[in-house]
Symmetry: C2
Subunit: 452 residues, 2 copies
């Protein structure tokens, strides 16, 4: 059924005060869709709908609501309701939610949380943003070494219901060190009296609490994992990260790269939710910086133009400047994009710089040659330039292509090596650098060949 | 342990002919890492190592090897070995593998496959590339409606071992229609005699075999799923897609967007594996196209420059051209990147075009005003321009900012609406368009204000 029809139907029930029917209709939907419906409601209707939901569903729905709606709701409900909501939510969802709230609301929520839960939450809030620790959940199923399959299954039946996933079971020793994992399927298919130690996989892929989320995503993707355990510096198990959260990390990291590569400070929120002031703030510093550098480019042009003014060839040479600058920028952007992407996917490392540069030089030679011929013929036929002028323009373009391909290859890899984000070495910066360099080459060749 | 040490140790065992020790050492590794080790081996050693592995492990390792190594191996082993390899592999891995092979090798592989498996493979190979059908696996666990929990568990124990995941169970009716799902955890925690029909979740999120992989990724991400069922047009269950494959789809789609946004034809392979010719082929058409358009930009400059040459203000005006063009391009790239990314993540749709444009206009007013003041002061102090010249440059920049922000917002959304890929409306194209438009604005304002 179309979402708009569903929404209209729910709205009619809500407006008509048919609460039990609304409850029945909502229970036909997924939690994500219930949250989506509640997104459009005003404070009063939001509260009403939230209270109509069964308690176990409402915590899940709450986790999917937007930050604004969550805050509206928390500010409207009583202390008891807050307490039971927090107890029913997964810890990682609670922490995400608290990170979005203003401090006074956080305080009220924490006051209405049991002490043990509050301690856990505080511990989580101390992990650096974007670390594995801030991403993990503690709702995993752990088993002590030495249990039999029967004992393990009975432990799972007893406590498994509250866990976010029980499909991978984590085996720990007395000191809580992670010593192995077992897939639930292995356990189900095994004989009751076998020791889990003999079934477990000791070849553990894990991350550290302080690892960056980018490393988490890379590891999960490389090994095709559904969950990954998180350990502390002593290799003690402290949490797990699930594939659905990793997918969000991947998209966030990609969005950040897209933004940096377009000279934007990464945004904290969705585009449509940001004010023009916030958007302008993320764009202005880069525009001012790049505009300032472009002044130098302008100075190079005027400096040489006065030189060429008397020769009668100035007009043709000026006409080719945009083509030269644009092509240089585009060539640089092509090379740097492939490098930045290759680095992000772990396909290219700094040690490959020689191989990559040699490849770009050869690509540059091919493209440079084609563009040389194309430009030579074009300037001759369209601009009616002398053979000398045609040569000056074409050979400058050839040099520009080679130079911009090499810069586009070397800069991102060097940035990575020096600990900067390679995504900053993208189109806008490279275009600006190549603009200057190509004009210097252009005018140097022009003055020497044309003998001005 | 460091990977290089591991690799060295394995190499020593292999070169020393210590085959059982090598086998023991390899079994301490994950399949992904075994494949990584085998990547560096020559044909003879590759074959040797592959044959050392236990049969059930070798099929998994094979799935993680590179296309080149897979082909080398298949061409070296006998028909019997091919047969047993294919029988042990998951169907989706087999199909991926066949799609990478040259036709004559595919033929040999298919000849050595059981008829039932061959029919399945052929059916899979017929799904369009990048469709849900081409991405799915058929190794899922289905249960007929009407079973009890006890019967369901015994079915899982009997056939579950061959399934890629058994953590979500799919309930079908007599005609194979998908009517519900049950999490394995629910089944484990339920009483033996309960009917599965009463436990199943009938609110199914699924995709169609012909849906694009982008839609699959979006759905899985939106609903935080670990697996998603794939149904045909009659809503009959035909396969499932798992989260690890969806992660690869997400990265592939992102890479494609990055490439298109940098005027590159998307590549079929990793950067370091492509020849300079292949790389040049993906870049040249766009460079030629954009260079041709840039000629027009050059003609605009020369056309007006002759007009301005006598006035003595030509030099200052020319000096500001790169700044004007670069800033316009950067502003357009910023806006278009946010649109393209928003569309890709499903946050912005065509119906939001009014809201987005109004936002960009306000952002443009803020940024335009700041740049107006900055440029006015700068041209006055640095270039010693008259107040009229300062005004011409600054107001042109203001108009360019507004124009490029609006274009950067409207073009990707319109492209999407018309069924084109919004990623094509990115920096390179917008820069070229904005270059022309801003110069026309610039010279029009200049001639009218300066009264030439």
């Amino acid at each position: 059924m179309d979402w708009e029809i569903v929404e209209q139907r729910l709205m009619n029930l809500l407006n008509g005060g048919k609460h039990s029917e609304l409850r029945g209709a909502l229970m036909m939907l997924n939690e994500v869709d219930i949250a989506r419906f509640m997104e459009t409601l005003d404070k009063e209707k939001l509260l009403l709908t939230f209270r109509i939901l069964p308690k176990d569903v409402s915590a899940d729905v709450f986790a999917y609501m937007s930050a604004e709606q969550k805050q509206t709701l928390v500010e409207s409900i009583g202390d008891n309701e807050i307490r039971s909501l927090i107890e029913d939510m997964f810890l990682d969802d609670t922490v995400d939610f608290l990170e979005e709230l203003p401090a006074n609301v956080v305080k009220r929520v924490l006051q209405n949380t049991s002490e043990s839960k509050r301690n856990l939450i505080n511990q989580f809030l101390r992990y650096p943003e974007n670390s594995a620790g801030s991403l993990m959940t503690i709702e995993y199923m752990e088993l002590k070494r030495g249990l039999t399959v029967r004992e393990a299954m009975s432990a799972i039946k007893k406590t498994g219901l509250d866990k976010e996933t029980i499909y991978t079971l984590y085996i720990i020793d007395q000191a809580r060190h992670l010593i192995g994992t077992i897939a639930l399927r292995t356990l189900i298919l095994a004989d009751d009296e076998v020791l889990i130690d003999s079934l477990m996989d000791t070849n553990i892929i894990s991350v550290n609490t302080m690892d960056d989320q980018e490393k988490v995503a890379e590891t999960v993707r490389e090994y095709d994992l559904m969950t990954i355990p998180v350990v502390d510096n002593e290799h003690r198990l402290v949490g797990i990260i699930t594939a659905d959260d990793v997918m969000d990390v991947i998209e966030d990291e990609n969005t950040e790269d897209f933004e940096k590569m377009a000279a934007l400070t990464p945004a904290e929120d969705e585009y449509l939710k940001m004010t023009p002031w916030q958007l302008a703030k993320n764009r202005l510093p880069w525009l001012l910086l790049l505009a300032t550098v472009a002044i130098v480019t302008g100075m190079i042009i005027t400096n040489y133009e006065t030189l060429l003014e008397g020769t009668g060839m100035g007009i043709i040479l000026t006409a080719c400047i945009p083509m030269l600058m644009d092509t240089g920028g585009n060539c640089g952007a092509q090379a740097s994009t492939l490098m930045i992407r290759g680095i992000a996917l772990g396909e290219i490392e700094f040690k490959d710089i020689g191989k990559a540069l040699w490849k770009e030089v050869r690509v540059g030679l091919i493209i440079g040659t084609v563009l040389f011929i194309y430009t030579f013929v074009r300037v001759y036929l369209i601009n009616h330039g002398s053979l000398a002028v045609c040569f000056v323009v074409s050979i400058s373009l050839f040099c520009t292509v080679l130079m911009s391909k090499s810069l586009g290859c070397v800069l991102p890899l060097t940035a990575k090596r020096l600990g900067f984000d390679p995504a900053l070495m993208a189109s806008p910066l490279i275009t600006t650098i190549v603009d200057m360099a190509s004009l210097i080459v252009y005018f140097t060749i022009a003055t020497s060949v044309l003998g001005v």
